[in-house]
Symmetry: C2
Subunit: 480 residues, 2 copies
Amino acid sequence: MAFAVTREHNEFLYQQVINLVRQMREQGTLQPGEKLPSLRSLAAKLSVSVPTVKQGYEELERLGEIEARPKSGYYLALQLKPAAAPRRAKLASKAIAVKKQSLIEQVYDAIHTPGVVPLGIANPVAAYSSEKMLARTMRRVMSQAGQSAINYGPMDGFAPLKRQLALRYLDMGLTIDPADLVITNGAQEALAIALQCVAGPGDIIAVESPCYFGILELIESLGMMAFEIPLCPDDGVWLDDLEQVFKTQKIAAGIFSTAISNPLGCNMPEQNRRALVELMEHYQVPLIEDDVYSDLYFSEHRAIPAQAYSRKRTVITCSSFSKTCAPGYRVGWMIAPRYIEQAKRIKRALSCSSSLINQWTLSEFIASGDYDRNMKQLRRTLLLHRDRMMAIVKQSFPQNTRISCPQGGGVLWIELPPDGDATLLFHQALTHKISIAPGAIFSPSNKYARCFRISYGLAWSEQVEQSIKKLGELAQQQYT
Amino acid sequence: MAFAVTREHNEFLYQQVINLVRQMREQGTLQPGEKLPSLRSLAAKLSVSVPTVKQGYEELERLGEIEARPKSGYYLALQLKPAAAPRRAKLASKAIAVKKQSLIEQVYDAIHTPGVVPLGIANPVAAYSSEKMLARTMRRVMSQAGQSAINYGPMDGFAPLKRQLALRYLDMGLTIDPADLVITNGAQEALAIALQCVAGPGDIIAVESPCYFGILELIESLGMMAFEIPLCPDDGVWLDDLEQVFKTQKIAAGIFSTAISNPLGCNMPEQNRRALVELMEHYQVPLIEDDVYSDLYFSEHRAIPAQAYSRKRTVITCSSFSKTCAPGYRVGWMIAPRYIEQAKRIKRALSCSSSLINQWTLSEFIASGDYDRNMKQLRRTLLLHRDRMMAIVKQSFPQNTRISCPQGGGVLWIELPPDGDATLLFHQALTHKISIAPGAIFSPSNKYARCFRISYGLAWSEQVEQSIKKLGELAQQQYT
């Protein structure tokens, strides 16, 4: 058997030890229950240090894939039980007015309470922070820009940033006219503008279910109605359900994650994305594409945005830097080929331009290659954290707990066994200084009372591990 | 006669020469047509340098207050004709749906066209830039904040900034609970949220006339109607007109400049502000207070916000840093005692939080005293520029041109004599690479076709002077 450990990424050398063990398991070289090579022998074979091998073994132990036996060594775990995915939700029978959810406020308050472990917020950037790189870039921009750094930028965005974004899309195989781009205050404002471009008060918006609560709040705030379309944990929104709704309801627009969803973490396959666009264009319903997590993929390649398959120019792509490098900069964008004039007007009316210094910094951040370098590390870190967190959840939570297996992004969606109460868990966890996002806020019809979302997009620590175990403990208590 | 030149502000030493000459004129020591003291003799008397006196005399000459006669010296000008203020507009008979104004887009495009003198944009910060101080502060914040600098801030704003704002209001005699404050993306977003707190589509909003076009666009964007209430060039909105409208119309809210208005530059006296609040609370109409220019006063003191006179907590104060120090940071705020829960929800739905690093920097900028130091210089510079610009306009424009005499802020409002066409002037000026803001965009009923706004809030230059003269020339041509 040939070993090859490349030294491309020093930081993750031990990851390759992990990969090797997994490869041995898959190829049958190592059977469940068998002893692994000793630290010293594997280190010699791989020409790496003993601590590196140890780090790899410890990580595998954490993930539940191997077991340490005192004074004996490491053994391949007997079984790897895949967690069941959350169940398919029933298709709603009607659109629902989103009700004011004070629970959302409690979730936000919890996140910002000092000392609370913020498992409730989806902030993947915290897993591998771009802060130093961005600070360096911003310092450089301030020196170069002089007085321009504090001036108003153009209403539709800083032209060099728009060019950089267009270049990125070109790399994905999508030709964007920068004139069809508007820079916004994060993706949330992009979604707000997109909705106002294509719908008005009282109109029905198709949303995925479970749905990011910020979108539900937005629909409520604009006086619109939400029609929930169930998500498949693997493939994104169920297209058959969506078509059924189109046949019976007047839908003004649909907002869907066209790649990685929040909170489910599923990654819509390319053929589904293409079919989604075709379906929506056939029924003449504009598609608002929520693309914020698409750069955080665990698969081979980034998804091509749905925008690329649009023939009628009725897809509006909304995205931002908030999940990839700079949540606090509040810079997002929208691509709205058919609606660009309305989009520019609404943006101007809602908040004039967006922060110029922040746009300028992000523009340089992309141009220098720092963005891509940073993303590569962030994705690797998130994947590692995902595996760690799934392993702990599997070990700590009640039997028959269902867990999503995110194919990107930074959050895990957990469904407690029947009779579980995730809102109760939210309140209980808070007394232990742990925040989670209860499922109730992900549906206007309170479909997900047993579910909750936790984030693996944070700096890993003993405290984080203990918090997940504590959550499991609290959940167990609901069944005793 | 006693002379006293204090050296408190070196930069404006020559300003005191100006004050002295004006004092001599007012006291009758110097009569129109009489010769001024020679440079040398006045310099000796004042113990300042000859160039300082010369600078003062040149400024007075620029302002049209004295005349230089070759080989003879400087003489007090024969007459100082005060410019007539713009006339009182007629009260509208009904509310008007704001129509999409592509002219606004042309105005913005003009401002951002390279090489164009941006007289059309109200950006007073350009007159005395805070850029270096802010850059220094931001660098310090980035060093201190570390990873927090790129994180999401709380949805309602960065707590230390809210505290600093509350302290500032306390200095003005107004006690604010920081919990009643929401930080927004500039005052524009504050106004957008305020309107959505108190009114819905189809509702009628009372606005001042002429009115900042951003407010008109916002009303249009939200599907509301505008009812124009004429402004008095001295005292702000005409209260008798407003009451008449309240008696006959259902008005959902009023947006008014409660201190310095844009474009008229009038400063509402305290008794009017108090009466405005009483009137609106009597008729149970919420007052949205546009306070963005209030720190740019030329009078003795800053105006106390209308918020201070509210008994029913139905005043919403909207303001920002865009007109005082950092337009491109996009940080504003609102104080909404009665509507705070809605305001927080709408802010969250529209754009989540605002840029944390920018908020943090501004918070430090206030705390260090830099904000106040900067404002002092900015106000002095703006006053000087106002006088310069008024003088050139008086000299260059057709007879019977009316000019506002701004009591604060950074813009001049000019009314051409009958048959003048300011939209034509806008297009003509653009061919000479000069941007102005034509009156047509300041009223949904196109009341101000003969008026336009120009900014004295810019870095003064020969090019600026020439541009104003060129505008005068172009205006003259409309009458020949």
